[in-house]
């Protein structure tokens, strides 16, 4: 049934060389069209005294529009992307980014609206934000949602700040945050950024958190437990409710990292699990594109108890003589304040809204079901090739260790680089930190059965190669325009910008 492995030559194609834009520059070339200044306008330039003016912009190139288009088009061909194929980067939920989302985000009524324009001139946008907040609240089971944080990590920071505000309001100066050892790096970084010290909690042998471990660490000086559910090993934290009780009984709060929400859409809700505050990653769960690093959006949901601390402004619905209107509410005296110059990454909110409207309740649940089916299928098929560090039925992703590779001398990194030759973006590697040489695979619901089978066949081939010809893997990738890049040299002698050759 399985289609032949048509990825064998997937990365071969025409590959153009292309220098830096600065090296293409030719004096006198233009890529813009601007009006000439008239005499009066030229005279107006004297308004700024010359000693306040700068010298030439030496390092900007001079290029025609054709040059610029070709330059970046060629650069683009050096990337792989979700639109090329499977991009199983664990924890990142690289699902398909629907095209209609791109179309609606560019509508001038969204894209050319100004953040400071009066609320009366932005009713459609405010209504959309209001509806999206309500949708996310229902999906998560949280009482209130702010859309302001610009990414998951800023959402974590917002959540931690609300937790601090809550304790301070009660006159409690708690200083610690408990974080499982499997957590993503942003969790401890966010807690520390707001002045908390981090206490790591060990995961159990089954890869989940146990009430005893939390009980042992929970004390009066602990502000919160920050956990990810499903966690970064792909497991549901099934002791969640008991754990939340322990934290609450000692006056702490529970932060839920919602990066893996995709696995439980419509199946279970963080708000029903004892979580007090959580973030969403619209760029993972709700299909907004990752943009080669961003932008994302990291809305935060809270229980009512924490609502007074939400960042301002808050979108409010007000009944008026002309029917319902939407306004921005700043009257939150206990608010942690503002986190963003405006309201956050609104363009991502428009895309996420379009996505939720396109899927509806059944479609969202179907995402979770098929994402989980895909991950379990991969785990079932790949367990003969790679070692499973923690046994158990997984949710949205499956994690393997490099144990089975040990005898070959081949590393997880080598396997990842060899996958590139077969046309795949590698999985997340060396995370979570508690798994030796981790390979963390998240297929998402976007992949078909035959696509997954091809991926498995490819990994089988690679594991055979690892036995028979380890050098082939160590030298990978072979098919890309550039071969393996020297990251050590980059860090040791940093070259962080282009400099014109001195002649």
């Amino acid at each position: 049934m399985t289609a032949p492995n048509d990825n064998a030559n997937a990365t071969r194609g025409i590959s153009y060389e292309e220098p830096l834009s600065f090296e293409r520059s030719r004096p006198g070339r233009v890529g813009y069209s601007l009006p000439e200044l008239n005499a009066e306008e030229r005279a107006a330039l004297a308004a700024i005294p010359s000693d306040l003016l700068r010298e030439e912009l030496a390092d900007l190139p001079e290029l025609s529009e054709v040059d610029v288009i070709r330059h970046f088009t060629r650069l683009s061909t050096w990337n792989t992307s979700v639109d090329h194929g499977l991009y199983p980067l664990g924890s990142c939920t690289m699902k398909y980014n629907p095209k209609i989302n791109e179309v609606v985000a560019r509508l001038p009524g969204f894209a050319a609206a100004h953040p400071m324009q009066p609320a009366g001139l932005a009713q459609g946008l405010l209504r959309l934000c209001y509806m999206l907040e309500r949708q996310l609240a229902e999906i998560s089971g949280m009482d209130r949602v702010t859309l302001q944080p610009a990414a998951g990590a800023q959402g974590e920071l917002a959540g931690i700040m609300m937790i601090r505000a809550y304790h301070e309001q009660r006159g409690e100066g708690r200083t610690k945050v408990l974080i499982p050892d499997s957590a993503h790096g942003t969790n401890p970084a966010s807690a520390a950024l707001n002045g908390y010290s981090v206490v790591p909690i060990p995961s159990g042998d089954d890869g989940i958190l146990h009430p005893e471990a939390v009980e042992a660490a929970m004390a009066d000086d602990v502000a919160a437990l920050m956990l990810t559910n499903p966690n970064t090993l792909g497991f549901f934290e099934s002791h969640m409710v008991r754990i939340a009780e322990i934290v609450h009984s000692k006056g702490g709060l529970v932060y839920g990292d919602g990066a893996n929400l995709n696995a439980i859409l419509g199946v279970a809700r963080p708000g029903d699990l004892g979580i007090d505050v959580m973030h969403f990653n619209l760029h993972k769960t709700f299909s907004t594109p990752h943009g080669g690093g961003g932008p994302g959006a990291g809305p935060v949901g809270v229980v009512n108890q924490l609502a007074p601390y939400l960042p301002v402004p808050v979108v409010a619905k007000v009944a008026g003589p002309e029917g319902e209107r939407f306004a921005l509410d700043y009257e939150f005296p206990h608010s942690i304040g503002r986190l963003h110059a405006n309201f956050g990454n609104v363009g991502m909110m428009v895309r996420a809204f379009a996505y939720i409207r396109s899927l509806g309740p059944d479609g969202l649940r179907r995402c979770a079901e098929m994402a989980v089916l895909n991950a379990n299928y991969l785990q079932a098929r790949l367990r003969d090739i790679f070692s499973v560090p923690y046994e158990g039925a997984v949710m949205h992703e499956c994690v393997f260790s490099d144990k089975s590779l040990e005898a070959t001398g081949v590393t997880t990194l080598d396997v990842a680089k060899r996958l590139i030759d077969y046309g795949y973006h590698p999985p997340t590697i060396y995370f979570p930190l508690i798994v030796h040489g981790a390979l963390m695979i998240e297929p998402t619901e976007s992949e078909s059965l035959e696509g997954l089978d091809r991926f498995v066949e490819t990994l089988l081939t690679i594991s055979r190669e690892a036995q028979e010809d380890p050098e082939l893997l160590r030298g990978a990738p072979h098919n890309t325009r550039l071969r393996r890049l020297d990251e050590t040299q980059a860090a040791r002698r940093p070259i962080l910008r282009w400099q014109a050759p001195s002649d």
Binding site: L60, D83, I100, A192, R497
Partner: protein, 446 residues
Amino acid sequence: MRYIPHTEADVRTMLDRIGADSVEDLFQSIPEKLQLRRPLDITAAATEQEVLAELRALAEENASSHTHGWFLGGGAYAHFAPSAVDAIVSRSEFYTSYTPYQPEISQGTLQTIFEWQTMISSLTGLDVSNASLYDGASAAAEAVLMALRVTRRKRVVVAETLHPHYREVVRTYLDGLDTEIATLPRSASGQTEVLAEAVDDTTACVVVQQPNFFGCIEDLESAAAAAHARGALLIVVVTEALSLALLRSPGEAGADIVCGEAQSFGVPLGFGGPHLGFLAARDKHVRQIPGRIAGQTVDSAGRRGFVLTLSTREQHIRRERATSNICTNQGLCLLMATVYLSLLGRVGLRRLAELNLARAETLKSALRAQGLALPFSAPTFNEFTVRVPDSGEAALERALGAGMVGGLDLRPFDAELGPAVLVCATEQSPTDRFETLATCLAGGAA
């Protein structure tokens, strides 16, 4: 569902391979009583055509620089973006990829970041730039945190003329940390006077905005001198990045960190985001910079290539000891800005900045001709403060009646200033409406 490929036969095959009876079985690790036993209470799915119609209707309820004459800035600027910018940004090789963790298949993104870093270094007059932060306000907050680390001091001196939203964000980020924030008042000229006594030996940094929130161009040399005399850093925040093409670079004037918002470089207004936070600093502070940085290296065959580097600063390696918690940044906006700057280039960007200055000066003349006063004597770039006879709100209401968003009412931001409006002119502002705007702001009907 058109985004999900599974047929019922596929599902059966896969369940068999897994050894499960049903999809439901796959969720057994979620305790029964925690499972949601009802459909989510959100509106049922709509077709693509319906979603498009629904969103078009919502979009049409908003004013924008496409529907009104636009004179509103205040940290977000209605500049023109050449068509080539969106053409490149729409390439899914760029927009559907992730952070370039695997450099061999991410050279497009990495080279773009390297080009951006070069351009920002040049524009700010500093040595190194990062690969973006969320927005100008969080960039200002990150710059302050960086200065606290570099100096190991605890006091922060912030100009009152820093964008009020940025001041709020800095306060939010510092809340809970053991620090003190002092403010520098605005002088009668509209500028910030950095008095020597405002900076002491516990001061980590002095933060000023160039041009400041009221549009005035600050004297950065004296600010740098006052800060450096006591071992503090000077942080210069820029919300109108186009000004960097015209004004003496902050780095040359003595700034240690330059950060802010680069939305002006081809990034849509988008009701405030996604925009493009940037941060640049001097070489000696490179290990305290927050966020991703791309660097040049070679591949195993000795050819030039680019990688993310100096990552021991970052959360995925250093966890609670990282310089910042940032992970996802504003990568695609960085691409927009890099394409934009490549098109405008060395000459075009300067010419565009001159055009903005000329437009603003022409608008000033039109306002003065209507008897309106400009309260501040300091030179300005493309934005300035104008006093209005009654109230900013009433003045802007009159402008709106004539189809214009005439600026920003300053009353909520500065109670002492009296009725005043912050007005901005860019290359997109309609010159044939300058007189009408002046009439409206001065109290007449259009």
